[in-house]
């Protein structure tokens, strides 16, 4: 029996989910729901339907798990509770500070309807959260650190694009190697924002624009850049497209901690990701958790869940026997 999937929202993440479904034989894409004109949307899966978002309730018997691919700012806070009334759902809500509120809203909707709703699935929140949890439970006397990058920050790139005279821009967040090494040493350093990450910007300026002013406006921008060592490179639009067209990302979760009668032994647990495509990797995590959501729903689980609640074996298409024999 395949898990029948719907995709709600067809941007970078939605396309990534579609690709990921093709890599998993036990998953099947049934329909894509879009707020655009469905007849104008081409998707890559010939067997799947393209439907108007307004018709989302017409597939309740044909879809096991609906994957929500909208944004965390305005889409998901509305869509996830609404769709959890109709379907088992998975989203990638990533505004860390608002997770408790989102959880409560989604939990009420999912419980009322008898569905499983898996929120904040991806890599941070997601796989990074899991690694913070595991490492913290194993080494209670310790400290953990999260570093991001090297990778493209969409929010920071957007912030640069809003500056007058900027045609386009791409911003990379880069972890500071010396900070990583200090953390790995077990010295539990106190690190400032500036010491942990640098920011590198590739900017296309309009013809005749004052690049000195643009550079100053970037470097002095509060919250986004002022607390970081920032490098600005002005390049041509062709160079931007040729050399900075991807959406790579990644990062590190490192916990160091002590054990022993006198806490005399140090341990380092490190998890890292190096991703060519941020949305495709996030989509791949989501599809694995859609499998788990379907299984948990069949077992009678209801309500809002996160990656912290899911037994790892539920992510794999393999049986418990296979997993124990092949990879335990």
């Amino acid at each position: 029996m395949k898990t029948r999937i719907g995709i709600y929202g067809y941007g970078n993440l939605g396309r990534g989910v579609e690709n990921a479904i093709r890599q998993n034989e036990d998953m099947e894409l049934v329909a894509v729901f879009t707020r655009r004109d469905p007849s104008a949307l081409k998707i890559a899966t010939p067997t799947a339907a393209v439907c108007a978002a307004a018709d989302v309730d017409s597939y309740v018997d044909k879809i096991d798990v609906m994957i929500l691919c909208g944004g965390s700012a305005t889409d998901l806070p509305e869509q996830t509770p609404a769709l959890a009334k109709l379907y088992n759902v998975v989203d990638s809500f990533d505004t860390h500070a608002n997770i408790p509120t989102h959880f409560a809203n989604v939990d009420a909707a999912a419980k009322g309807a008898g569905h499983v709703a898996m929120i904040s699935v991806g890599w941070d929140p997601g796989m990074f959260s899991l690694n913070r949890l595991y490492a913290g439970a194993i080494l209670p006397d310790g400290k953990d650190y999260t570093f991001w990058g090297k990778g493209v920050s969409q929010g920071h790139s957007d912030a640069i694009r809003r500056i007058e005279g900027v045609v386009d821009a791409k911003q990379y967040t880069i972890p500071v190697e010396a900070a990583l090494d200090a953390v790995r040493s077990g010295s539990c350093p106190a690190l400032t924002t500036r010491e942990k990450h640098t920011r590198e910007c590739f900017v296309v300026a309009a013809e005749g624009a004052d690049t000195a002013r643009i550079e100053r406006e970037i470097k002095e921008m509060p919250n986004y850049f002022a607390d970081y060592d920032t490098t600005v490179h002005f390049i041509s639009l062709d160079e931007l497209r040729r050399d900075h067209g991807g959406i790579p990302h990644g990062g590190f979760v490192i916990r160091t901690g002590k054990t022993g009668a006198d806490l005399e032994h140090n341990h380092v647990i490190e998890y890292s990701l190096k991703l060519d495509s941020n949305p495709e990797f996030t989509a791949s995590v989501i599809v694995a958790y859609a499998r788990a959501a379907h299984r948990m729903s069949i077992e009678g689980t209801v309500g809002c869940k996160t990656v912290l609640d899911v037994p790892p074996a539920y992510l794999s298409p393999k049986s418990g026997e296979q997993l124990r024999a092949e990879l335990l």
Copy 2:
């Protein structure tokens, strides 16, 4: 309410468990069971009893989880099924090839008695298994690699000690840096045993022993050394004690995989451990899983479980609300 723990077997691992319990306020050591004379055994926890292994059934109302700290070769195959009839249990059974049989034996005993039995807890099997599972579920089109070290292999050290003329020895397993780099590149290299790890031996020879013969016997030993590039250093007993007294270990689980419409994007997921004390880290993992075993038992779960079956949140003393707010 604290989780009341018993320790069955008081070697390096048992002492590690005792230390780890002191680092977790919600855990309490009630009793240590030993096959030695209990009156001759000093433990570090003044409030805990020291009991004869034969009296293990006298604590069934006083212990929530019994942690088995014996060896995988002969102790655990007997002890885990036997004690699962009396208690919820956790063991660190690490003979990978025999896990399915051990699981079946323990599962029957635990189910018959209504207990939870968590087997093969530690880091490999254990945290490394989890990382193989997560990474494989996320990136189905990929390949994973496990490297061990740098660390002390007890089995290989013992094998050297059995050679005539050897007083004492310590063997380190060392991953080959070039192999790690090749794996991280995403090229999915086929690696021979020799290409993945080297072995370094520190040997104390008896006075007048033929060191050339000892070195040859080590390097030609089938299974243990013949398939590896092995280095042998002869040192004094004082040097061995001074410089090689610890039991460090660690390793790497790396999976690389592809996503995208044409599988054009590469991703690298890497998990690594660098441990000053192998038994203390293993003990720390076990204690976190003892917490989970207790919770699962309270909820009515019975039977044999592994790290692959446990919802991650059960490992932490924090509530779901706290975890979502603080680390998701």
